[in-house]
């Protein structure tokens, strides 16, 4: 093996060139990490949203509850589905829900923002067991009171006792809940009838969520009314429903990969350029190594190592930059919803970036390394 010192010391001697070439990789990796961490963060919110025991019913064809319209009669019929658990009063654990995006003026910034608002009845917490009150209390029936998800409260600096204007009415925030980092933490929950009245949506629900004993029962319950011509509704296990929401980030993930590929091509060509220049300045070194007895293969390996090292330097810097974003919380659109998510620079994101870097470092250094290998020793020295 050609000494490793030969490779890395040459990079040190030409440190400006090394850094500029490595910068190409730094930028690819940083961009990739930002975009992939974003999609990973949003996917995680979806992954932790929903429970395996719950079945969510929407109007047929809807993938998002925003446009779904279920009338009272259909809701009653759904509550008769087999496998639905009952509360201690013998009533079906079925949560009728009215989901809306409501415009609200943020008092602090003066900007109009969309907020996710869910009208529910008091049994909602028994159906959505992952949602727990951590501060304050549940809203009271027939009152204009709200509980707010932890992420939403943090994002807009809303506390218990604050008064929010939704539509024409004022609503008091009486509780804060947490839901394991799921989409529910980006929502406001209030009395369904009050909200329906306020926004002229009486007599309709956007979803009916049924609680069953376990995932297997949930799947069976979901097939209730399959093929029914009387009611046009679709059921999914709640976990699947939220997983499908995450598919909307696929577009951005694919865009991230396409952008990453183009930038990586740029970085690889940069390394090719640098290595060709390095080799032309070091033909006598290469000739001597060959004369002394190092084989063509060993020369090839040495120069490939050098280009991969440049890529690794750049990639490491880029990873550090990208990692700085880890845990940063922002809000984003997920279909019609707005959710808070945290950038997630996890092992998958970092290893994708690492693989990109190393592969492009290898590919970029290949041609120059092959040319180094072909140098005819004694001729180069004369």
């Amino acid at each position: 093996m050609v000494p490793v010192a030969y490779s890395y010391r040459n990079l040190l001697v030409r440190w400006k060139t090394t850094l500029m070439t490595a910068a190409g990789f730094t930028l690819v990796v940083a961009v990739l990490i930002v975009m992939l961490a974003f999609t990973s963060g949003v996917t995680t919110v979806c992954a932790v949203s929903g429970e395996a025991e719950n079945v969510i019913w929407l109007t047929k064809g809807n993938i998002d509850e925003v446009l779904s319209r279920i009338d009272v009669q259909t809701a009653r019929q759904l509550e008769l589905a087999p496998g639905v658990l009952s509360d201690d009063r013998g009533r079906a654990l079925a949560s009728r829900e009215l989901y809306m995006m409501v415009t609200q003026r943020d008092e602090k910034t003066g900007r109009w923002e969309f907020m996710s608002v869910r009208g529910v009845y008091e049994n909602a917490l028994e159906v959505h067991t992952q949602v727990r009150l951590i501060e304050g209390r549940m809203f009271q029936r027939h009152c204009r009171e709200l509980i707010i998800g932890r992420q939403l409260a943090r994002a807009h600096d809303i506390r218990i006792g604050d008064r929010l204007t939704l539509g024409r009415a004022s609503w008091d925030v009486v509780g804060i809940c947490e839901a394991g980092g799921s989409a529910f933490e980006s929502e406001l929950w209030g009395d369904l009838d009050q909200l329906a009245g306020c926004f002229h949506r009486r007599g309709i629900y956007t979803a009916v969520v049924l609680r069953t004993a376990d995932a297997a029962t949930a799947r069976e319950t979901a097939s209730y009314l399959d093929g029914s011509r009387q009611v046009a509704v679709d059921a999914s296990c709640e976990l699947d429903y939220y997983a499908r929401q995450a598919e909307q980030t696929d577009l951005l993930r694919n865009a991230a990969l396409v952008i990453g590929v183009f930038m990586a091509i740029g970085a690889a060509l940069g390394v090719t350029n640098t290595m060709f220049a390095a080799i032309s300045a070091r033909t006598s070194d290469i000739a001597v190594l060959r004369i002394v007895g190092f084989t063509k293969g060993q020369i090839l390996a040495a120069f490939l190592f050098e280009s991969v090292l440049i890529a690794a330097i750049g990639g490491t810097l880029g990873s550090c930059l990208g990692y700085a974003l880890n845990g940063l919380t922002l809000e984003t659109a997920m279909g019609a919803k707005k959710v808070a998510f945290a950038f997630q620079v996890d092992a998958a994101v970092l290893s994708t970036a690492a693989v990109f870097t190393l592969v492009m470092g290898l590919l970029g250094g290949l041609l120059p390394a092959v040319s180094a290998m072909q140098i005819r020793p004694l001729e180069s020295l004369r």
Binding site: V28, V34, F276, A277, T332
Partner: protein, 384 residues
């Protein structure tokens, strides 16, 4: 400097490998930069208020999806200053089992072109066909591909928004590339009759004479329904879009960040190449000085060479992006990439590519060129 043009061009050919690699790098980066900028440009254009903003959007004030009574429509249309109007009703669903949900808008036929952005130049023959065909639908290119139908064919939508009201449509035209890729339009009268929905409307568009009149109309309409059970909100087209885009602000910010990073990337890549070249040509620089070239002239030679490489690459990269975009729109790539179809790269970007490339060349060569001015003749001759 033109008399030195030959020298500049010849210098490009001295190390063909390096020149080619530099050009390819910038071509690749400018190509992707073109795509990314198209997205941000469209977002910016839509979000920026136009001083001549003469289109107003009327929606229910507080919630999504917006719904307000259809009886409000004639009252709003009659407001002084309103030159023309149309209304939208959303109707969405799936075609068959496998297609994703498609979104349709029921609207007026008679003033369709005038009231829809980007469709002002629609072929009048299509509108004539639409007039004759009650179930006619104008379909976005992407939808036509998704449902596998062409002009003249029919499709039935199993509605998600109007459960049980599954409508059949006949395609009478395909909408041009752009923001309407994933939409289809059909006639209001057909919508009302087939769904029975004569009560509610999702949104209204108003055309006014000028921005000032627009403000007045907006205030009048808002006030009209101030105490009505259903309040409405009136805003200019760009304000409405800006409000929606706040919803996607994070994504827009990420894309803008990417565009800026791409520019930096191009500059660094070319700067690297130039630094290597300049280092190798130190002796020549010294010789030029001996021959009488001023330091400023030597600097200019390097900068011009870099700008030449940059601008050629910029044009090539932008042209590549444009060509790919066109091929995608025509389906020649074997399927259409949705996001490319929604944000087609305009031909004008090729000119922008030229300037971006030239600017990158200038920025990249600044420091190396400045350093080479300082080449000491004596120092280099000793090595010779």
């Amino acid at each position: 400097m033109f008399k030195f043009a030959a020298l500049i061009f010849k210098n490009l050919g001295r190390n063909k490998v390096r020149t080619t690699l530099t050009v390819l790098t910038i071509v690749a980066l400018v190509a992707i930069y073109s795509f990314v900028c198209t997205v941000t440009d469209v977002a910016k254009t839509m979000m920026t208020a136009h001083s001549g903003d003469t289109r107003l959007l009327v929606q229910e004030k507080w919630s999504l999806p917006s719904l307000f009574p259809v009886r409000h429509v004639p009252k709003i249309a009659a407001v002084d200053g309103v030159v023309d109007w149309t209304a939208w009703n959303a109707y969405a669903g799936v075609v068959g089992e496998d297609t994703p949900i498609i979104a349709g808008l029921a609207t007026r036929l008679d003033n369709f072109r005038a009231m829809h952005s980007g469709l002002e130049d629609l072929d009048p023959a299509i509108l004539e066909a639409w007039e004759k065909e009650r179930t006619g639908a104008l379909v976005g290119q992407q939808i036509a591909q998704q449902i596998g139908r062409k002009v003249g064919q029919t499709f039935t939508v199993t509605s998600a928004t109007h459960p049980g009201k599954n409508l059949e449509f006949k395609i009478i035209g395909i909408l041009p590339s752009g923001i309407w890729q994933l939409t289809f339009f059909f006639r209001r009268d057909y919508y009302e009759e087939a769904t029975g929905d004569r009560e509610l409307v999702n949104a209204m568009w108003l055309k006014v004479r000028d921005a000032e009149t627009g403000k007045r109309v907006a205030a009048t309409v808002s006030e009209m329904f101030e105490h009505s059970p259903t309040q409405v909100k009136v805003e200019t087209e760009s304000a409405g879009i800006a409000r929606f885009s706040g919803h996607v602000q994070t994504i827009v910010n990420i894309i803008t960040f990417v565009a800026n990073v791409l520019l930096v990337n191009m500059i660094i890549a070319q700067a690297n190449s130039i630094s290597i070249t300049v280092r190798e040509r130190r002796k020549e620089m010294a010789i030029l000085k001996v021959l009488g070239f001023q330091p400023g002239m030597i600097l200019a030679l390097i900068v011009l060479e870099a700008m030449l490489v940059g601008s050629i690459s910029g044009v090539a990269g932008a042209a590549l992006a444009y060509a790919t975009s066109e091929l995608n729109a025509s389906g020649a790539l074997g399927g259409t990439v949705t996001i490319l179809a929604q944000f087609p790269v305009p031909a004008a970007f090729i000119v922008r590519g030229f300037f971006v490339g030239a600017a990158v060349g200038f920025a990249a060569s600044a420091i190396p060129a400045w350093n080479v001015r300082k080449v000491e003749v004596a120092e280099v001759f000793v090595r010779l």
